[in-house]
Amino acid sequence: MENIETRLREEAARLLAEKKVDVVIGYEPGTLPLVATPCFITAPEDAGRLVFNPFCVQNLAKFVTDLIAAHRDSQKRLKKEEKTKKIIGIVARGCTSRSLVIQLQERQYGREEVVILGVPCNGYVDNKKMAALLEGQEVREGRLQGDKILVTTARMDKEILLAQVTADNCLTCRFNNPVIQDVMLAEAAPARDVSGEYAPVEKLSRLADAERWDYFMKEMDKCIRCYACRNACPSCYCRSCFVEQSQPQWIGLGPDRSDSEVFQIMRLYHMAGRCVDCGSCIAVCPMNIDLRSYLKKLDSDGWNLFGHRAGATLEEPALLSTFAESDGQDFAFEPE
């Protein structure tokens, strides 16, 4: 880990000094212990702030579309020949690089506008799992030592194994190394056991219709429609989102439970072929909604029906922007 950080800082400082990039998006230590927060480095001397550790949760690809959109807006009134491109350096692990692939497939920016600093990843810490182990006590101090986290709270000192608190999506991660990169900052991480990848989907599929509906309703009833999931999602980059549209108004604003359900169905469905299972939406959800069981279903359908894995390669087009003559149509209704 130390090694990656040293290389990361060197590389970021070099890119900034050589003006190869205008900004590097990475992680810096947060203001609380055991937290890392996204940061934007614009001067080579600030590159020392960068860190990369198991507390780096959020998918940084989100900020690439944000920064590029803001930059393009700022240049709206310039003449064509005066317009410049903003080149963005980004620290990318597997899921972040897949999100970048999706944004590139969807032509949000050109490949030359991003410089990808690839990092291998062994998974990040799920704060909700950690909070459960600490019985909700506030972390006073904490540090990482090998594969253990040493935590001090007001009432106890605890040693937590990293594997105990690794997020679910990381435990069965198929792409823990970047799929595209300009520089790889360390040796590739060892492959994970992906056999349990679709376990949540299989579990839910075994239930009867009505039970699945009850589970869906129970989960979505928690939704307070804060839209944090959408705001954290690197695939949700639309300037105007369907939830805020008023002509037509897709989602009612009242307390009707069907509105939350419809919002969730549509946000989830928008992730068909676009969800990289980075877990950002789950990490930011204040109500702890089980979004993963549903996102994984779309992922497994994409793979089983069309042999497509979201953001796996830049060579293939996006799942729903293409078709094959041989696509299955068993789902179609055939009158007798």
Partner: protein, 144 residues
């Protein structure tokens, strides 16, 4: 919809979203040929099945439709060449996803009817109406 559900002689309301070039013409043919079919469908005409936002289907269910039928040209016969092939992928995923969350499979139906298949259109409507009737009034996802 609430008042509809209370009635004893309940009849389903089915939204049929059909493409202008094949199924709508097929429905026209069924009409011209005086083929009888149940009057439970409300037809919405769109240029192509590829134009249908999957949201239409979810929204129709939320607003109280007991069933949604989507029908277009047979694959390979799209007026716009590939519109229905793109739609086919979307609908395969949507149907699978909706039944996964627990909306009954027979509430969302997809089929192909060409302009010359008036008889097939009537048959589809008869059977879809029967299938939705068998399920009873929609109560999942419906706005109260």
């Amino acid at each position: 919809m609430a008042e509809n559900q209370e009635k004893e002689d309940w009849e389903p309301k089915i939204v049929a979203i059909v493409c202008n070039w094949c199924t709508y013409a097929g429905a026209d043919l069924a009409g011209i040929s005086r083929i009888q079919y149940p009057s439970n469908v409300r037809i919405l005409r769109v240029p192509c099945t590829g134009r249908i936002n999957p949201f239409y289907i979810v929204k129709a269910l939320q607003e109280g439709a007991d069933g949604v039928l989507v029908s277009g040209c047979h694959p390979g016969e799209c007026h716009y060449l590939t519109g229905n092939l793109i739609a086919r992928r979307k609908f395969a995923l949507l149907k699978s996803f909706l039944s996964y969350i627990g909306v009954e499979g027979d509430r969302t139906l997809f089929t192909w009817v060409s302009a010359s298949e008036g008889e097939r259109f009537a048959k589809v409507i008869r059977q879809v109406t029967g299938a939705v009737k068998a399920l009873g009034p929609a109560n999942r996802l419906v706005k109260q």
